[in-house]
């Protein structure tokens, strides 16, 4: 294990004044945008990605790492003070966090979220540093059919495990796979679904897809249903915690980290599951069960730590296998690809300097966040009162700015609008957006691996289940699909029972 010297080199690179400055800029900008209501970490990344276009790979990824952690931190502030989780992973934080803020304990909620994020982020990043290279050297032994199986697992997991309706998750995935087909086929040079439009032949840029579905879709959806009365913002003083808050928080942080990291590192990752499990666990273990539902600090500390640890866990799969399992990781992958860096087993061997500088700056960014954001929290909180017309105009403006600066092509803006309207429609009819984004990005990867496998086997399809690893993955996929069917049937039962009172809604599981 020569992670340590490599990491020290990484620190040396990341600690250069210029790179430190980029990390600082990233953390501030990420927090600034992440705090804005309705903007989750994935949208923050997609909107700010263009900022990195003119930089060298190392500073660009350092800036990006700062934006990433800043966006996550900003999101928790919004959840707590406004009860507006920007992403499904901070829904659990919002439950108890907003109750605490309403009970006048907003400062403590913000403190346990910030310090918990720091603790979990640091531990999980250290775990990432030691597991990712090991995972990468294991991944070298994986064959194309194994990768193909993993991509299928990601598809199934992201569309059926999360969200309230598996069939709508699959529909969203199908839309994404379709969008992913557009463009010239890499191997054969054939145009697919381009309808003779020139600018479609290079495919739809991932940034445009992400910005359209997340930012434009969200802005259009909210604008068409804008609440007239201003939202209620809880105020907060500088975050601090007393002795009892500390005593109740730290075990929850550690448990949250222990749940979050492995779930994030699984190719079936995402932060929804571990944050939910962490919340239930804390509710079960607490000595103050009466406080749950009225603002229990453990209920903020655990899920928020799980959320951050899981985010670092997703980076294991992203860096070592090259497979994004969350929307945030998907946007990150497109950032890597922009610099011709291909995440995967070879990444650590081919471009160690960039990777280790990135890992080191994740640790540095975490410290910066803590130092800056505890004192700055009241300032960030004032952003929540931004008049809504300016907020949503701003989101649309920066969507155009980002999409236009990708290729300087006005046609991209038309694609942005069409996909933005698709995003609107998906929000109206309960289709989750994340499977679509994963489908667009991972679809072509999946096809490439399938081709590689068939090339080696001379077109013999049985090669797909020729390895033990692939078979194991397929078993997991079948298990997930079975679970989804069972859930769908169970949901129907309950909705039949409920239908006398509330015919229009159905909640299936988490």
């Amino acid at each position: 294990m020569d992670a340590l010297p490599a990491l020290l080199d990484g620190f040396a690179a990341a600690a250069q004044p210029e790179n430190l400055l980029w990390a600082l800029v990233g953390v501030m900008l990420g927090t600034f945008v992440g705090v804005l209501p309705g903007i989750g970490p994935a949208m923050t990344l997609a909107l700010l990605l263009p900022l990195t276009y003119s930089l060298d790979p190392a500073p660009a990824l350092i800036l990006f790492a700062g934006i990433y952690y800043g966006g996550m931190y900003g999101g928790s502030t919004t959840s707590i003070l406004l009860n507006a989780p920007g992403e499904s992973s901070s829904v659990m934080t919002a439950i108890e966090g907003n109750k605490m803020a309403r009970a006048g304990r907003g400062a403590q909620a913000l403190a346990t979220a910030a310090i918990g994020s720091f603790v979990a982020g640091t531990i999980a990043t250290v775990l990432l540093i030691f597991t990712a290279p090991a995972m990468a050297s294991f991944a070298v032994s994986l064959k194309a059919q194994d990768y193909f199986a993993i991509t299928l697992l990601s598809f199934v997991a992201v569309s059926t495990v999360l969200g309230s309706s598996p069939v709508r998750g699959l529909a969203a995935l199908a839309l994404g796979l379709t969008l992913g087909l557009i463009g010239i086929d890499a191997l054969t040079g054939q145009q697919r679904l381009t309808f003779g439009v020139d600018s479609l032949s290079t495919g739809i840029d991932t940034v445009v897809v992400a910005v359209a579905l997340f930012a434009v879709g969200e802005a259009l959806w909210i604008a068409a249903h804008l609440r007239q009365a201003p939202a209620e913002v809880m105020s907060s003083s500088t975050p601090w915690m007393n002795r009892s808050d500390w005593r109740r928080s730290w075990p929850a942080w550690l448990r949250g980290t222990a749940l979050g990291f492995p779930f994030g590192a699984l190719p079936a990752g995402g932060a929804e599951m571990p944050t939910f499990l962490s919340y239930s666990l804390e509710k079960k273990l607490t000595r103050h069960p009466e406080e749950f539902g009225h603002g229990a600090i453990e209920g903020v500390a655990g899920p928020e730590a799980a959320n951050n640890a899981s985010a670092a866990g997703t980076l294991v799969t992203l860096l070592a296998l090259g497979i994004p399992t969350t929307a945030t990781a998907a946007v990150m992958l497109s950032a890597f690809q922009r610099y011709d860096l291909q995440p995967g087993p070879q990444l650590f061997e081919n471009t160690p300097d960039v990777v280790w500088a990135l890992l080191a700056s994740l640790l540095i960014g975490n410290v910066m966040l803590l130092v800056l954001n505890l004192p700055l929290a009241p300032l960030w909180a004032r952003l929540l009162k931004l008049p809504r017309p300016y907020l949503y105009s701003g989101i649309l403006f920066f969507s155009i700015l980002g999409s236009f600066s990708v290729n300087q092509n006005p046609t991209d803006i038309l694609v942005l609008v069409v996909l933005g309207l698709l995003g609107f429609l998906m929000r109206r009819y309960g289709l989750p957006v994340v499977p679509t984004v994963i489908g667009v990005i991972l679809g072509p990867t999946s096809e490439g691996k399938l081709r590689q496998a068939l090339q080696v086997s001379n077109g013999d399809w049985s090669t797909l289940w020729a390895t033990g690893f692939a078979i194991t993955v397929y078993v997991v996929i079948v298990a997930l699909l079975t679970l989804a069917v069972v859930r769908a049937v169970a949901a129907k039962r309950t909705s039949l029972v409920d239908s006398a009172e509330a015919p229009e809604r159905e909640h299936a599981g988490v």
Partner: protein, 174 residues
């Protein structure tokens, strides 16, 4: 725009839930329509080079088309059995009123239009038009402040991107 008409109005009244249910089939139509489109388009793809020993460029599109059709059937079954898409909620979202089509279509038109204007009148001007238009459409009534914000934000963003980060954006029309 076909999707939009399919979405239908969010009527309130005794028949609201039945009509909202009907519009759910718009999504089924979208998926099925896309499935057929992909199917038809795929038939026109030729093999090209390099497919002798590996996968033809048609295989995965055919699979995706089949997947779209299967999912559209599953979704239709789900809706028939009473399943409904859960509308996204949020702090700024008020679902008790119907969709404001004027705002929605106006915003979409503004984004599309100002995007096309960028090469003609430059980024700062197109951005200011977009910002001012969307702000007014979203119900802001402080005209002076709106004007100032609409001019300052795009200009600052333009300077940061071009001068600070070295990313090209057109200043004036070509």
């Amino acid at each position: 725009m076909e999707q939009l008409t399919a979405a239908g109005p969010d009527a309130s009244g005794p028949h609201a839930s039945r009509r909202a249910g009907l519009s759910e089939f718009g999504v089924v139509g979208l998926l099925a329509g896309l499935g057929v489109l992909v199917l038809v388009e795929t038939q026109q793809i030729t093999d090209g080079i390099g497919t002798v020993r590996t996968l033809s460029p048609r295989v995965v599109p055919y699979f995706v088309a089949g997947f779209l059709l299967v999912v559209s059937v599953l979704l239709a079954l789900d809706i028939v059995r009473g399943g409904r898409g859960e509308q996204e909620s949020g702090e700024d979202v008020d679902l008790t009123h119907g969709t404001e089509w004027r705002t929605l279509l106006g915003l979409a038109a503004l984004v599309a239009g100002s995007g096309q204007l960028i090469p003609l009148i430059g980024f700062p001007a197109a951005g200011a038009l977009l910002f001012f238009g969307t702000t007014r459409l979203l119900g802001s009534h402080r005209i002076v402040l709106d004007l100032v914000v609409s001019i300052v934000v795009p200009l600052v963003a333009f300077l940061v991107f071009t001068e600070g980060l070295g990313i090209y954006l057109p200043l004036a029309g070509a």
